[in-house]
């Protein structure tokens, strides 16, 4: 809520823009990007995007401003205001506002839009991306399959949307590859931000015998930590927060996607396409970070062989969006 629009803000922003208009040569160097986050940028998913855009700004590739905690009812207005301010690229998440967001893009054909979306791209200027760290989740599953003693694997998710389901399913496929007779448990907490509830869901699965838990939501690892079992993190690196508990993380890197669309905007290419492929491992879009202590060496080498196969395209991690039970 800090970055609110006010008349004063817009005046100040316009004043700042004046020199840019006066010297178009300078302005052409940097793509002006505005991010509109529906959640606080601490949210694991948003933080990956925020950090990628921030790092691009630090490298001098783009200029980056953002709003956070923008509600669905306010979303289209925020998009329009940034478009009016003359930003070249507007990043956002249109899951809750698919129709309105596409309408805004139609009204501003000169502005590029990149939206996290459940739908496809539209027009020349409305690009979309999906979240794909399933390959890293698969590899994490291969490690998990070798460290479990009870052979029971848990997972805690927010809601069963495709991007969550495919992640949990990929983790399970990875476990099954090394451990064909594994048992799986799953719980959805029906919220994106309820760490105490995610923790209780993890404890419930530990009671039922799980000793490695895939935490799609923050809070899961707290339950694992309290009961001395292992957990796997998703999207960001949770190991510093839970040392000794989280031994592997399926990291999502958004920077390749940013670089791809920025290159398109600079070259003047239409951006109305699907940028999901830049989240794949071969583009560096996701990776596994793990702590090798207590993991058998042959498990690690098997995982690394698979990682190589994923990168060179000889193995494709299946994308299964069915709801895990």
């Amino acid at each position: 809520m800090t970055y609110r629009f006010s008349r004063r803000f817009i005046l100040a922003a316009t004043a700042c823009l004046l020199p840019a208009i006066a010297s178009p040569a300078l302005a052409a160097d940097k793509i002006k990007v505005a991010g509109i986050h529906a959640s606080p940028v601490e949210n694991a998913w948003n933080s990956r995007i925020h950090e990628a855009l921030q790092s691009a700004a630090d490298d001098g590739v783009i200029e980056y401003v953002f709003s956070e905690g923008v509600s669905g009812t306010d979303y289209a207005r925020a998009m329009r205001e940034y478009a009016e301010q003359g930003h070249d690229l507007i990043w956002g998440e249109s899951y809750a506002v698919e129709n309105e967001a596409r309408q805004v893009a139609k009204d501003y054909p000169d502005v590029a839009f990149l939206m996290g979306s459940s739908g496809g791209p539209s027009g020349d200027n409305f690009g979309v991306f999906g979240t794909r760290n399933h390959e890293a989740a698969y590899l994490a599953g291969m490690l998990a399959g070798n460290v479990s003693k009870s052979n029971t694997f848990g997972s805690v998710g927010g809601y069963p949307i495709p991007e969550v389901n495919l992640l949990i399913n990929a983790f399970r496929d990875g476990v099954r590859e090394v451990n064909p007779d594994a048992t799986f448990l799953n719980g959805f907490i029906g919220a994106w931000f309820d760490p105490p509830k995610a923790k209780e869901a993890a404890i419930a699965q530990i009671d039922a015998g799980a000793d490695v838990i895939f935490g799609e939501r923050i809070g899961t690892a707290d339950g694992a930590k309290e009961n001395n079992v292992l957990a796997i993190g998703s999207l960001i690196d949770y190991t510093p927060r839970y040392p000794g508990t989280v031994f592997a993380n399926a990291i999502w890197n958004f920077r390749p996607t940013v670089d791809a669309i920025v290159a398109d905007v600079k070259a003047g290419n239409p951006v109305g396409k699907d940028y999901t492929e830049f989240s794949f491992m071969k583009h560096g879009g996701n990776e596994l970070i793990f702590v090798s202590d207590n993991i058998p060496a042959d498990a690690i080498s098997a995982m690394e062989a698979k990682q190589k196969a994923i990168k060179d395209g000889s193995f494709e991690v299946p994308i299964n969006t069915d709801e895990p039970s």
Partner: protein
């Protein structure tokens, strides 16, 4: 099917019930005290959010855990005072003011949090309350694990119920509060000041709500998220009706709600095949409504609830 029944007899389930119930107990108790004096406090959701942030921030800045709870209670009390001043002497709509307090408190919380801390991908942590095993009692099989290995605020919640029940039912102060909720004019006739009693009750009630919120960040979890209260405040408002405005039944209601919640988390992976998880998530809310219908037949609503008191007015 047997598995689903077996869960009910596991100590871990009952341990989870107490953990889930603790913020609800504080919140319900707070709302109950407000309503017993005749003021509905819909500011609860915002006050719980504020309490969660303030307690966490106090500890994060180097304060002790109990200091954090105390500061949360003070801040909650201040917002209670705001609600009370608007609704008691000024007699504004309690619904509108309460919702306003919720929006104000949660936005202010977010604002302060963002000002105080730079943006980071994973919110910073504190060292939360650890489970406190009561010597002797915690070694009892089953009950030891379920009841006597909780964090300190959970024991405090149970104590708060007992103290509140005693004060409300057995002391002159409690009689005055209850009477203000039933008939403030009669209180006036007794030479007491209903306005002051209501303000006091709302302040104390709101302080308890804030402590309930602080449990989320200082005991069950160790970081703050701006939206982490997730409707627990509204559940408390419903639980007060369920409890027909009695502290003992409030404890029962909070435990029952928590039982449904802890149970559904375990049912999700026991019941196989084709049952959508949303059904399980609905269970605590649906059962609460059913329980509400059954219980509220005999409910005694405070007669002056939501009726502003104006001196000399009939």
């Amino acid at each position: 099917m047997m598995e689903a029944v077996d869960i009910l007899f596991s100590a871990s389930l009952w341990g989870a019930v107490l953990r889930i119930a603790t913020p609800l107990i504080f919140g319900t108790l707070g709302a109950l005290i407000c309503e017993r004096s005749g003021v509905l406090n819909l500011g609860i959701e915002g006050i719980m959010t504020l309490g969660a942030m303030v307690a966490w921030m106090t500890v994060f800045q180097g304060g002790g855990l109990w200091t954090g709870l105390l500061v949360a209670a003070l801040c909650g009390g201040m917002f209670g005072l705001l609600h009370a001043v608007l609704t008691v002497p000024l007699g504004l709509s309690q619904h509108v003011t309460g919702l306003g307090i919720t929006l104000f408190a949660s936005s202010l919380t977010y604002y302060i949090y963002r000002l105080a801390l730079p943006v980071s991908s994973s919110p910073p942590t504190i060292e939360p309350f650890q489970p406190l095993a009561i010597p002797g009692l915690s070694d009892i099989p089953f009950f030891g694990e379920a009841l006597f290995s909780q964090t300190a605020p959970t024991y405090l919640a149970i104590l708060a119920i007992v103290v509140t029940a005693y004060i409300l039912i057995r002391t002159p102060l409690g009689l005055a509060i209850r009477m203000t909720g039933e008939n403030p004019h009669a209180v006036e006739a007794q030479g007491l000041n209903p306005t002051r009693i209501r303000i006091g009750a709302v302040v104390v009630g709101s302080a308890l709500m804030a402590i309930g919120g602080s449990f989320l960040t200082t005991a069950t979890f160790n970081s703050f998220f701006p939206t982490m209260v997730q409707g627990r405040g509204w559940v408390c408002i419903a639980l007060v009706v369920f409890a027909s405005w009695r502290p003992g039944k409030a404890l029962l209601g909070a435990l029952l709600f928590a039982l449904f919640d802890a149970y559904q988390l375990r049912l999700q992976h026991v019941v196989e095949g084709g049952v959508p998880y949303q059904l399980f998530l609905m269970v605590p809310y649906v059962l609460s409504i059913v329980a509400l219908i059954v219980m509220s037949r005999r409910a005694r609503v405070p007669q002056a609830l939501m009726a502003p008191y104006r001196k000399g007015e009939r």
